[in-house]
């Protein structure tokens, strides 16, 4: 190796997880305080639990709406209550569940999949979680006092502007989304740098698991897309509170500015909340088909291609605003083209099942049915790409059905499969497969009973976002079926939660590798120790744990024997493309700074909401102070062991 060029060459040794060195590593790495932890596994678990709490809240909101819509002319909810419910439901599922849940899995899994000790910026990682939690609580505080968002998740102006919406509703939403954007942005930066620099030696980019490709790609997407929505909400807040006129025609502004800024963000966001989920399927499904993924390179490239194209289709949400023929044709074409990379993934999964030897675990059931749900959500998207047809579909329940096949089919099914797949790794315990199958069938049946007929509801012309509907419009039976389906789906989720709690309490011990998986996380004990790997492994193929059977690369990965990093809290950085070892990185200790800075930012945002300008200033000073303490140079973090020139 290139050891000679280091001031200190790390030893290469064979070390077990019960060796004295490992015990010492555990003392060095273990979390000292619940509020100060920077352990990516703990942060990942928190993300996942928090996101599931929001999923449950959003689900309850949906059930209340389905009670209202179960029959025509229902008066269970007032229009304002219904409007806040559907808006909060959208906000919750799209912003507080769908992306954070994937960040949770990515946080937990990135270092384990990459053969690293932690994320590149552990404190930033903790910060990203705290800000997400703060943003979620902030937005739900609005909902709790009857000032939740009430203009749908895409929040068109001028209805979102003060003259039409004088309450605090929109201010909660606008500031909450800006706050959440901070979390998303720093999280994305962390994922990007982690993939660039924190991989085990030998893990070149053509050996990255697809899940890493997915999150890496969407993190880039986030860095480009989130500024648009943060800006959009900032301008909205300024319009509402300071008297600017960005969206106000009276002051030469224009309401369509909002739509462009929002969809430039929100269409890529659709891919942000599905590509990592698709990645989890691409990594999980082959394990249960007992073969490598078919078409690894094609799938990885299609992931990137989808994200790139995803930036060129935002106008297809705006076909009805009165745009020139050429613009509409271009965006229609782009919206057709974007289905091609999705087709690559679909046929790769089908081929993996077809040429493999499937084992019907609960995870497999979710992953396999995910493919069908993916295709249903995909083809309804393909139908809406056709402009003249979309001018009929748009803003009807056809689109509601479509978005739910995308979000539940492509995100939730993948996530539930991933829970069954990685739960043993996260907790050291197995989930009960029998109860898991019951939960699966309830969820699968309930989801399809609720949402498949909804396409027809749309074709029958039911507009979305209506709090009630008249009896003689041909929608009664379809709506009742959807409501029944949604409660079956809810029963399935209840069974799933029972399954999880039962597993946590009394699940069978999992052992390090219950599914005989190929990637590095399965080489660690379950749950992994706080330092992840006793030695940093050296990777020679895409499936380090399957090399005995597959004979993929020229050499053999070295899992038990590798770099020993035991001079304090250390991790190994490698070069970006080839994964050559490059640097021994000193990792930071637990710190309260991320939490303190989060509290200061939140104080600032609460003050902006209430126009307490002086306290907002205090919050800002708190942020600066906190950042100063956070970033104050610490000699022991000095990277003394850099490669010599």
């Amino acid at each position: 190796m290139a050891g000679g060029s280091y001031e200190r060459s790390p030893r290469i040794e064979t070390l077990g997880y019960d060796s004295p060195t490992a015990e010492m590593l555990e003392t060095i790495w273990k979390t000292k305080s619940w509020f100060a932890t920077v352990d990516h596994k703990e942060i990942g678990r928190r993300y996942i639990v928090t996101a599931f709490v929001f999923l449950i809240l959003g689900g309850i909101e949906a059930l209340v709406m389905r009670l209202q819509l179960a029959r025509p002319e229902s008066a269970l909810l007032t229009p304002e209550q219904y409007n806040e419910l559907f808006s909060t439901h959208g906000m919750t599922m799209i912003f507080l569940y769908a992306s954070p849940i994937l960040s949770g899995f990515s946080n937990f899994l990135f270092p384990l999949l990459l053969g690293s000790r932690d994320m590149a910026f552990p404190r930033l990682n903790a910060f990203s979680y705290w800000v997400y939690l703060a943003a979620g609580i902030f937005m739900y505080a609005g909902f709790a006092i009857g000032a939740g968002p009430n203009d749908g998740w895409f929040n068109y102006t001028p209805y979102a502007s003060r003259p039409f919406n004088p309450g605090l509703n929109m201010d909660f939403y606008a500031l909450g989304m800006i706050l959440l954007g901070i979390s998303t942005t720093v999280g994305a930066a962390n994922f990007v740098v982690t993939v660039w620099r924190m991989r085990a030696p030998g893990m070149s980019i053509n050996r990255l698991p697809i899940m890493i490709w997915g999150t890496f790609t969407v993190s880039f997407g986030n860095l480009l897309a989130v500024p648009a929505v943060s800006l959009a909400f900032l301008l909205l807040w300024l319009d509402r509170n300071i008297g600017t006129h960005f969206y106000d025609i009276a002051g030469e502004g224009h309401p369509l500015l909002w739509q462009h800024l929002f969809w430039i963000f929100a269409h890529p966001w659709v891919y942000v909340i599905v590509l990592p989920a698709m990645g989890m399927v691409s990594d999980g499904l082959p394990v249960f088909c007992r073969r490598p993924l078919v078409g690894y390179t094609a799938v990885a490239l299609s992931t990137v291609a989808t994200m790139v194209l995803g930036f060129g289709v935002w106008l297809h949400h705006m076909f009805a605003v009165g745009l020139p023929f050429m613009a509409v044709s271009f965006f229609s074409g782009a919206s057709f083209v974007i289905t091609i990379p999705s087709a690559v993934a679909v046929f790769a999964w089908v081929a993996t099942i077809w040429t493999g030897r499937p084992v019907f675990t609960v995870a497999f059931l979710y992953f396999a049915s995910f493919i069908a749900m993916f295709v249903i959500g995909g083809v309804s998207g393909f139908m809406t790409a056709a402009v003249p047809a979309d001018l009929q579909f748009t803003d009807t329940y056809f689109v509601v059905a479509h978005i739910h096949y995308v979000l539940i089919g492509i995100n939730v099914f993948a996530v539930l499969g991933a829970v069954y797949f990685w739960f043993p790794k996260m907790t050291g315990k197995m989930l009960d497969e029998k109860l898991g199958r019951w939960a699966f069938w309830f969820i699968f049946a309930g989801f399809n009973i609720a949402f498949l007929p909804m396409h027809l509801t749309g074709l029958m012309g039911m507009p979305r976002r209506i709090y009630t509907y008249p009896a003689h419009f041909g929608w009664d039976a379809l709506n009742l079926i959807t409501s029944i389906g949604s409660f079956i789906l809810a029963v399935g989720f209840l069974l799933f939660l029972v399954n999880v709690f039962q597993g946590l309490r009394s699940g069978r011990p999992a052992g390090p590798n219950p599914w005989q998986g190929p990637t590095l996380e399965w080489s660690t004990p379950s749950p992994p120790p706080s330092y992840n790997f006793a030695v940093i492994p050296i990777i020679a193929s895409r499936h380090p744990l399957w090399e005995d059977r597959l004979q993929e690369g020229p050499g053999q990965s070295s899992i038990r024997r590798g770099f020993v990093l035991d001079h304090g809290k250390e991790a190994l950085a490698s070069t970006t493309l080839d994964g050559e070892p490059d640097l021994i990185v000193k990792m930071p200790e637990d710190s309260y700074a991320p939490l303190v800075v989060t509290l200061a930012i939140t104080l600032g945002f609460v003050s902006l909401l209430l126009h307490w300008w002086w306290i907002a200033g205090a919050g800002l000073s708190g942020v600066l102070l906190g950042v100063l303490v956070w970033l104050w140079p610490e000699p022991r973090l000095g990277q003394m062991t850099e490669r010599r020139p």
Binding site: Y156, F336, I340, F347, G356, V359, D395, M460, F473
Partner: protein, 322 residues
Amino acid sequence: MIDQAPLNYLQAFGIKADKVVPLIWGLAVISIIVVVIVSVLVLVGALRRGRAFSPNPDAMPPVERAGSGLPWITIGVGLSTLVLIAAMVWTVATMAAINRPSRQPDLTIEVRAHQWWWEARYLSGDPSRIFRTANEIHIPVGPPVKINLASSDVIHSFWVPAIGGKLDAIPGQTNATWLEARKPGTYRGQCTEYCGLQHARMGFVVVAEPPDEFRAWWDSQLRAQASSGPHDGLAGGRQLFVQRCGACHTVRGTQAGGIMGPDLTHVMSRGTIAAGTLPNTTANLAGWIANPQTIKPGSLMPNIGLSGPELASIRAYVETLK
């Protein structure tokens, strides 16, 4: 089922919607075929060689790389691409076919969306033939009719599925579209861009009628109502209407000249009230005047606290506005 769904878009009665129905069906059939093929492939692929999972240490069979599987991707994506190109060509052809009306429209209607009703102003070269109405738009069968779409508050969307697709009404800009009905009938329309509390009940109807009937309708709409008259029994109702309703509503010929709410000069010629919400019957009319906030909570028409006799009197007057 379709016949009982007045907003469905699988049945078309206008040139613009006609061309779209086959496109929707075509795309739907392609989509269903794709879903069935992939689902069958997944199902058969899984059942063909699959096995149940039993929780013991040797539960997972050994891995093997049985073929590259790449032809699946090449063939699958190749076929998908061909279908996509075909769909794209069909789409653009349909777009081009309905991009312009068959001929230059002679008639222009300005439609202005309000929270939560529709105002229609019929334009004419002859200023004396210009008039306003609301929530019921009459068009002649046959020739295309130009619609200039505006909004006076928030974004709405104008949609008559049987005749054509949606177009948004956006404050600060006028969007133009056209309606071309080929069959007489009453077609339901609806606002489809979420616009606040009563978005759900922001309907309207388009009445397509033969040109001579349309002409007669237009003529009848131009007539002003009497400002006073021999019907002494109604004088009280008229006066009350002007006092209590006239700030928001117009009845041409009287002193009621408000522009906040729909023009009611010929409200009794319309089939529905409250923006397509209720059939225009005596009972509904009384109920709506007395208590709009129960029928459309949040509506900008307030409950104005009429006594029983006042209500009866106003209702009786309104029922003369034929």
